[in-house]
Amino acid sequence: MPSLNRTVRRALPVLTLLSLIPLWELCCRLFEVPTFVLPAPSDIARAFVEVEPARWLGHLWATLRVALAGFAISLAISIPLAVLMVRSRFLSQTLYPLLVVIQSTPIVAIAPLIIVLFGTGWAPRLAITSLITFFPLVVSATTGMLATPQELIELSRSLRSSPTREIWYVRLPYAIPHLFSGMKVAVTLAIIGAVVAEFVAAEEGLGYFVQFSTSYFKIPQAFAALLFLSVVSLALFKGVQLLQALLFRWSLPRDKT
């Protein structure tokens, strides 16, 4: 019985979410929402099957690999950046404003610069995705490392640690929960980033396909691509959660007994 109970408890949220779909359909029919404003799920489904699976997969893969690679790059850049800023007050005061500036610059506005700098292949898309995702990572890693309790810092300093080791062995592990909170934000931003990048420079990918469909007034097809994007985001988000659960069990709140 308890295991049945648990199954139900697990399934309930999924079922609730799925039940939104008929509701959506109903609303669209009831209020006669025009397709170009919000297509009904049935329209979307129809549009979905009209495109061959291979093309879906092609676009999906194009977006996914940019999102993943861009996320990986920004992770690889932002952690060292955060470390630098934690170690040096001067760097933190010099770099932080720069990062804020970069973060708040609308990428689309500097598209020419990016294309001239990175060409028109993969590179500009990766650059854009990384630019859009890195900030939450830097902020959360920095906040986490700075929030390390004084007593742990004293422990580490009493061991005559080099500052590098202090960061590596004490501050970074302590920042894990913060960092993962940043990663959850960043990973969904990575999808946004890949899509924006495809708006700016690409001939494939779900974002390209959305824009393409919209400019041809194939709104249900655009929404099918959007749903696909959502599924990818959910998968990436779950992926990050899973990673935390697997590698850093301790950083999660323990289940109540």
Partner: protein, 319 residues
């Protein structure tokens, strides 16, 4: 006065001058209209806003309208042609040696990813006995096209005739000159930007629509009669616009408005045969069933009657 919400299909500029002229010169006021201008972000956006009743009448490429109506019975109809030639064009550096469309074979052509030009490109190439494999298409952000052309990342770019001044300005900075190959000179003979209106507006206030169209025609005539003044009027209402640039644009695009077609069929007219030709291009370009849709259903002839001059009116739609 009757209030009319006018929908632009893009940002203000010389190519949108008539509506500003209409306001500034009092053409609308003379018809008892109070016009409010809303900016848009492309034909699709403009159509959506008209279809949802946010605006009453506005500009959109008629090919977007035809495709939208064929796909999705959108409640918007065309009431007047504005550009009776399509504005698509190749741009290249003057010394590139490409002076006819036939010579684009083997070149690198940069284009914006989502412009409607791309859809027509294969057809244009076909008309010129080329196909897509003869060129290398590079897609990039609109803003990057000029830089790509000038820095040699691309041999040609696809853009609109109305952008000529802007590309020339960029090229001048590097001491180069630009030449333009308009597609309408290479076999693409179809309608483009048109005045379109929501069906609800046309049904509920047909007279208002007619008055608007009358004033708009006057404004078009004035704009190309007095390009400098027209440019200044745009700037007067939208300070971001530079009057000089607007004037230059107005001059550049004269051929889109006043051309063989407009001379033959009348300014503003939507000739059924040419409209059918336009639809043929659209259907082929977008892979739509040509016979499944009658382009005439996208035109509100009864509204146009008596407003648009020299219009070859079909028998059955006389009021």
């Amino acid at each position: 006065a009757d209030k009319v919400n006018f929908q632009l299909d893009w940002m203000p500029g010389g190519d949108k001058a008539p509506v500003y002229v209409g306001v500034q010169q009092g053409f609308f006021a003379a018809e008892g209209l109070e016009v409010k201008i809303a900016q848009g972000r492309g034909s699709t956006d403009s159509l959506t806003r008209l279809a949802t009743g946010i605006s009453d009448i506005g500009l959109s490429d008629i090919s977007a309208l035809l495709a939208a109506r064929a796909r999705d019975d959108v409640g918007v109809s065309a009431v007047m042609s504005v550009f009776s030639q399509a504005p698509h064009a190749f741009f290249t550096l003057s010394d590139s040696g490409v002076d006819t469309v036939a010579k684009v074979a083997g070149k690198r052509i940069a284009t914006s990813a989502f412009t409607s030009s791309n859809v027509f490109l294969p057809l244009l190439l076909e008309v010129n006995h080329l196909d897509e494999n003869d060129i290398r298409l590079i897609k990039a952000d609109v803003g990057a096209l000029g830089p790509m052309l000038i820095t040699g990342n691309a041999d040609l770019v696809i853009s609109w005739v109305t952008d000529r001044e802007k590309y020339q300005a960029q090229a001048s900075e590097m001491g180069r000159t630009i030449s333009m190959l308009p597609w309408y000179q290479a076999g693409m003979d179809i309608y483009a930007t048109s005045l379109v209106a929501s069906d609800r507006f046309l049904q509920q206030r047909p007279e208002v629509a007619r008055r608007f169209m009358r004033a708009y025609l006057k404004a078009i005539a004035y704009t190309w009669a007095e390009p400098e003044r027209a440019g200044a009027m745009v700037e007067a209402m939208v300070p971001e616009v530079d009057a000089g640039v607007a004037t230059a644009t107005i001059l550049t695009m004269r051929d889109l408005v006043f051309n063989d077609a407009s001379a033959r069929l009348g300014l503003g007219a939507l000739d059924p045969a040419r409209l059918a030709e336009t639809w043929r291009w659209v259907a082929r370009a977008q892979d739509l069933d040509e016979s499944a849709f009658d382009p005439e259903t996208a035109v509100a002839r009864e509204i146009m009657a008596g407003v648009v001059p020299a219009q070859p009116v079909k028998e059955e739609v006389t009021p």
